[in-house]
Structures are given as structure tokens and as C-alpha cells.
């Protein structure tokens, strides 16, 4: 499309629009509430552009199938929710180790276990970071409204290609199922990152796991001139298994450094009324909507409350948080879990004693009133 | 089809693990293990070039080279 298109959609559909805009051409998935609409919409839309949709036999198979399809040079995605995200972890770790670009959407619902399938939660934040075994880094993005869901989905594809890594998009049930306006920008309005392919010619030794000077690793599509090995074992620059201590040490450092050393380039956030804020609300996803609503109303009454809305949760934007929370009388982390981001905020700020949690974990969206009640306590105005 | 004539048994001593499959199933008892437990062609003159040793070798360590092969190359 060559001009902006206005739609009234669910968040899951905004995600699909973002994926199509980014150039998705392969999706594998398994039905699970509250993410199923992503699969349903792509089942209809992908073949219309010659892309492929496949419903696999389970969550694990879906994750593995997108990895396989990424290796043939395609932009790939799968979507799931808590239980499915748990099942995908081993294959997700494989994608980290083998450095395969892919996007994994987790529309969060209440957990643990089957939990609260049709209700909102943000309980998978730490799982997105630490769900797999072993050390590695990962990128996780999130969004509080449909325009941002669209933008973050495009970003997720871009970052996956840039850093040769899986990128997790942490949405939640409220954002996923709510309907609101989405403007799909015209083609070219948001830059896209395409697969970086090697320029090493046929017959010349190609090293799929040898980073360039800028840290990026050009790929070669399966089916192309370069036949190389991909494995989940520690491997040398040809992708062949190795347990040489130097190789193991080097690869693990590379997997962490390629992301942690680029934290500034990866970090995404928004500031709402932060100028001179005495009370800083740190929030993300649908929780941020209530935080922003409260801050907007209080600002109108002259109270100095602002919101730091995180749009990337991993790598954790520690320096940003430390900076924006400096000098605040109190920092309130607004989230729908038992304080998963709050703990990291405490670790980031100069004065962890001033960090508080405004949360809700009963499957209901946290409201401005919920936050207001906590603020009253902090401000010494009673319960 | 011309009858195959043996040129040599090309045995990769680095790859051979001395399992003895080729020796046991050779219809003409051409092969033997040497003192290093590697296969050698002890009686190449008896070889009928059936290539079963080559086909079954789990180490891909033996190749029966024949004149026929050379012409094909």
C-alpha cells in the first residue's frame, strides 16, 4: 500500500499488520488463547502474498519449524501464550545458540500452568529472559497500544535480522484483544532490515559463525552455494561442534556481548510527563495505559507525576532507569505480576528504598485507582 | 558388462577401526587384520571385486579400485 491505511483492530491484528509490513513470509503456530487470532489472520493473509502458513502438531514443532524456515532465508514468526511459551524454550535456546533470526510473540495470560487463559497478566517477563537453560542474552519488546504493537512488531523483525537472534514480543491479553485505531503507515515510512547475506563467492570458504568487524554475521541461505553445519552444540566458525575451551568461552561471550554491548541501540521507551517528576511510574504493556491515564489527570491538577514507559524489557535498560528516576521522591513500578520488573528497577536505581510496586495479579487490568491508592500511602495520605 | 578387474584395495588406515565386518563377510577371505588391528588385503589375487567390504564398511575406510572404475573416470 502506498498511502497510510486506517483500521479498527485488535492488538493481535495490529501485530499481524506489523509482521506483514516487516515482510513476514513464514508462520508456524499452534492454537492457544489469547494469541490464536495471530495464527488465524496469518492463515488467511500469508498465502495472499505467496507466503506460507502451517499449523503444526504442537508448540515445540512450531518453534522448530520457523527456525528451519529462517535458514532458507525467510522472515519468520510464531505466536503463543504462557504454556506454549514454556514448551518453546528449548528450541528458543537453540535459536540463540545457532543465531537464527526469528520473532516469537507471547500474548501473556495468567499463570503458572494453565492459569487464567482469557485474562491479562504480565507474568512472563522473567521467563522471556531466563526461560531457557544456560547463559545467553535475548531481546524482548513490549507495547501498550496498537500503534506501538505495530511498530514494535516491525522492530522485532528488524532487531532479529540485525543481531541474528530470536526476538520476543511480550504482548498481553488486554492489548491483544482490545480494539482500537491503527494507522498502517505507507510503505517505506518505517525502515526495514533485510537479511544480511554473505558476499563470499561460490567455492570460497564461508564462515557462518565468524562475526564481521561490526559484530554482524552475514548468512547464507540453505539451498545456496555454501553448505555449512548448524548445531545447538558449541561450535567453531564453520558451525562444527567443538568443546575446545577457547571456542566455548569465545562463543558464549559473543552470544551475550552482541546484545548487551548494543543496549543503547536496542532500548525502546517513551516518556510521559517526566519533566521534573517527583513521582516516576515505570510501566509497560497494558499496565502503562493506566499509569499514563493517572499521570495525565494528576498533571492537569499540578501534581508532578510522570511515566517512563518501557518498550524493551531485555536487555534491561538499567542506565536509562537510573537516569530518569534520579531525584524522584518515589518510583512506582506498575505491572501485573509479583514484581518481576520492580526487582530489576530496584537494582538499577540509586535509592532502592524508594521503589514501590503497584500491581494486580487477579486477571483484571490494573486501574488508575489501584495506582492512586498506593500513591496515597507513599505520600503519607493514609490508606 | 565387462568383468571388473582389481587394481587395489584402497584402505584408509586412519579411518579403519578394525571392527572386522569386511573380513568376516568377504566371500574369498581376502582381508585380514594386521598387528595394529587395521585391515589389510592379504590375498588380493583372490578378490572377485564384489565390493561388499566397501558397501558394509561402517568407517567408510575401504575402497575396491578396479580397472573398470578407472575407465569411467
Amino acid at each position: 500500500m502506498n498511502k497510510p491505511m486506517i483500521k479498527f483492530v485488535q492488538g493481535n491484528e495490529a501485530c499481524v499488520e506489523g509482521a506483514l509490513y516487516a515482510g513476514i513470509d513464514f508462520y508456524a503456530g499452534y492454537p492457544i488463547t489469547p494469541s490464536t487470532e495471530v495464527a488465524e489472520l496469518l492463515a488467511a493473509k500469508l498465502p495472499q502474498k505467496g507466503g506460507k502458513f502451517i499449523q503444526m502438531e504442537d508448540e515445540i514443532a512450531s518453534m522448530c519449524a520457523i527456525i528451519g524456515a529462517s535458514l532458507t532465508g525467510h522472515k519468520v514468526m510464531t505466536a503463543t501464550s504462557g504454556p506454549g511459551f514454556s514448551l518453546k524454550q528449548e528450541a528458543l535456546g537453540y535459536a540463540c545458540m545457532a543465531e537464527i533470526p526469528c520473532v516469537v510473540v507471547n500474548v501473556q495470560r495468567g499463570g503458572p500452568s494453565t492459569g487464567n487463559p482469557t485474562h491479562v497478566s504480565q507474568g512472563d517477563v522473567n521467563q522471556a529472559r531466563w526461560g531457557t537453560h544456560g547463559d545467553h542474552s535475548i531481546i524482548a519488546l513490549t507495547a501498550s497500544n496498537h500503534q506501538d504493537v505495530f511498530a514494535m512488531t516491525v522492530d522485532a523483525f528488524n532487531l532479529a535480522e540485525t543481531y541474528r537472534t530470536p526476538v520476543i514480543l511480550l504482548l498481553d491479553e488486554a492489548v491483544g484483544h482490545m480494539r482500537e485505531k491503527l494507522v498502517v503507515p505507507e510503505k517505506g515510512a518505517i525502515p526495514l532490515v533485510d537479511r544480511l547475506r554473505t558476499d563470499v563467492g561460490k567455492g570460497v570458504d564461508y564462515h557462518p559463525y565468524l562475526p564481521r568487524e561490526d559484530g554482524r554475521l552475514p548468512m547464507s541461505d540453505f539451498g545456496g552455494d555454501h553448505r555449512y553445519n548448524v548445531t545447538g552444540l558449541f561450535h567453531d566458525m564453520w558451525g562444527f561442534p567443538s568443546n575446545n575451551p577457547t571456542v566455548v568461552n569465545g562463543l558464549l561471550h559473543h552470544l551475550v556481548d552482541k546484545i548487551e554491548n548494543n543496549i543503547q541501540a536496542i532500548t525502546r521507551y517513551k516518556e510521559h510527563f517526566l519533566d521534573g517528576a517527583e513521582y516516576v511510574l515505570v510501566s509497560y504493556g497494558s499496565s502503562a495505559r493506566s499509569a499514563i491515564h493517572l499521570a495525565k489527570n494528576r498533571r492537569a491538577r499540578g501534581e508532578r507525576i510522570g511515566v517512563l514507559e518501557l518498550q524493551s524489557l531485555w536487555p534491561f535498560p538499567e542506565a536509562l532507569i537510573r537516569d530518569r528516576c534520579r531525584g524522584a521522591k518515589a518510583v512506582v513500578v506498575v505491572e501485573m505480576n509479583m514484581g518481576q520488573v520492580m526487582r530489576h528497577v530496584k537494582a538499577a536505581v540509586d535509592d532502592p528504598e524508594r521503589v514501590f510496586l503497584a500491581n494486580r495479579i487477579d486477571g483484571k487490568l490494573i486501574t488508575p485507582t489501584d495506582i492512586k491508592k498506593l500513591l496515597r500511602v507513599i505520600q503519607g495520605m493514609g490508606v | 558388462m565387462a568383468r571388473l578387474k582389481l587394481k587395489e584395495h584402497a584402505i584408509n588406515r586412519e579411518w579403519c577401526k578394525g571392527c572386522g565386518i569386511c573380513i568376516h563377510f568377504c566371500p574369498k577371505q581376502v582381508l585380514e587384520l594386521d598387528s595394529m588391528e587395521k585391515v589389510v588385503a592379504a590375498r588380493p589375487e583372490d578378490c572377485i571385486c564384489c565390493k561388499l567390504c566397501e558397501l558394509r564398511c561402517p568407517d567408510l575406510a575401504i575402497e575396491v579400485l578396479t580397472d573398470q572404475d578407472e575407465k569411467n573416470e
Binding site: K49, I54, A61, G68, N229, F240 | W15, C19, L60
Partner: protein, 268 residues
Amino acid sequence: MSVKDYLRERYFPHMWCPGCGHGTVLNSLLRAVEALGLNKNDIVMTSGIGCSARISGYVDFHSLHTIHGRALTFATGVKFSKPELKLLVPMGDGDALAIGGNHFIHAARRNIDMTAIVMNNRIYGMTGGQFSPLSGLGKKATTAPYLTIDNDFDVVELSRAAGASFVARTTTYHALEAVDLLKRAIDHKGFSVVEILSQCPTHFGRKNKEGDAVNMLELYKANTAKIGSKALKENPALLARGIFVDENRPEYCEEYEKIIQRATGGKK
């Protein structure tokens, strides 16, 4: 081309034990690929985890050594996204039918064009000799010190029931037959399964008093017979070898092309 042209020679000698049948499966598979005259760039081999899975490192194809039990799902992603590629998926018995059993039946059900090779040594070798779903009753393993009480799958019947359109069985003793069956399986359009009985002298053979590799091959020779043979008719207790299913059925990637035609109104 000779067989060696399909190998990554720098990684030899391979890591399998002396007398391990998996090397013979590799040997047969390369001969089948050579006989078909396939281009190395057109072949993708995906494997899972275990002794069997290491096969993908040794071949000079595009190779994808994945996670335990999931080789067919990665292969599905590769094939479905680029149907012109030839997919070879060697798996161990535990890999294919225990942890990967669900993927196995579903890949068969879809009839997606790839060749699954079950390298059946009836044991988990890499972890030191535990029983597998193909060990069968009354076998000794490190996790069955008092003998197994687990029934085994019949790979041929399971594949047939799940919808595989080509199903064959042979052994590492019958190497020429293995080459021929693999050739036909790779050439087959649809999901093809070749079960190859492959000796594990280190674990299965030793624990079950089947002797060394040579002796285990003698047992394959004595205990199996070709479908339709006189030997099988006279002694139905023998394990049948040969082609059990060979049918032309709609293939998954081709069927999806029709979906694309429908979705685009024939414009694609």
C-alpha cells in the same frame, strides 16, 4: 563423483564406535544420493540428538543438527519454506519414536516430501545403553536391569497407519538393498520412511549377548527375509524386509501451492 565427494573428510575418522551400524547407514545413504545424481546444494540433512544425529556433521550437504526428537519439525520448516530442496532426516529410534514420536506421525500424516531414516539400534547409545521404544520385550538395558516389560513399536505398521506414502525396512547387513531402498525413498514424492536395523555392539549387543558387530550382522541375515520370499512364507516369525507401502498421494507443499492459487485468485 565418488562417495567421498559427499563427505566432510576433515571430520573423519567419525565418532561412532568400532562396528557401529550407523557408519554403514551413512555409507549406504551416500551411495543412494550418488546414484540419483543429486546436487549437493539441493540437499538438506536435519538430525536430532544422539549417536545417529551426528551423521549430519559428516555429510557435505546443508546440515542442521537440531534438538532431541525435533529433526522432522525443523525439516518441515526448511522444506515447506523452500520446496525445491531435498530433505534427508536420519534419526535414532529414541529420537524418532520416543521424544519425537508425535512429530513422526504428524509428518507422515501431512505426507510432506522428505525421507525419514530410522537408524534402529534398539537402544540409547549416546547416554550409555538405556532401552528405547524399539528395544522390545525381555531386553537388557541399563534402565532395565531386570529386562524390559515395554512393548515395542513396529515402525512399518506405525508409519503406514500414520499416512506415510512410502515405507521400507532393511538392515545394515543388506547394504546393497539399503542403497536401493534409500534411492527409491528419496526419489519418492511424499513422506517416505526407511527403517534400517543398525547394530550397536557396544551397548545393545553386549548387554543382550548378541556378540560383536559381525555376530549382530549374522543375526540380521538369519532373522530377516524379503517380503514375498519363500523363507518368509515358511517362517513367518522372520522380520520382513523390503517395500511395504509405495503410493502416490497428494503431497503437502504441492497442496499448499493450490491454496496460494486460491488465495491470490491465480495471480501468483
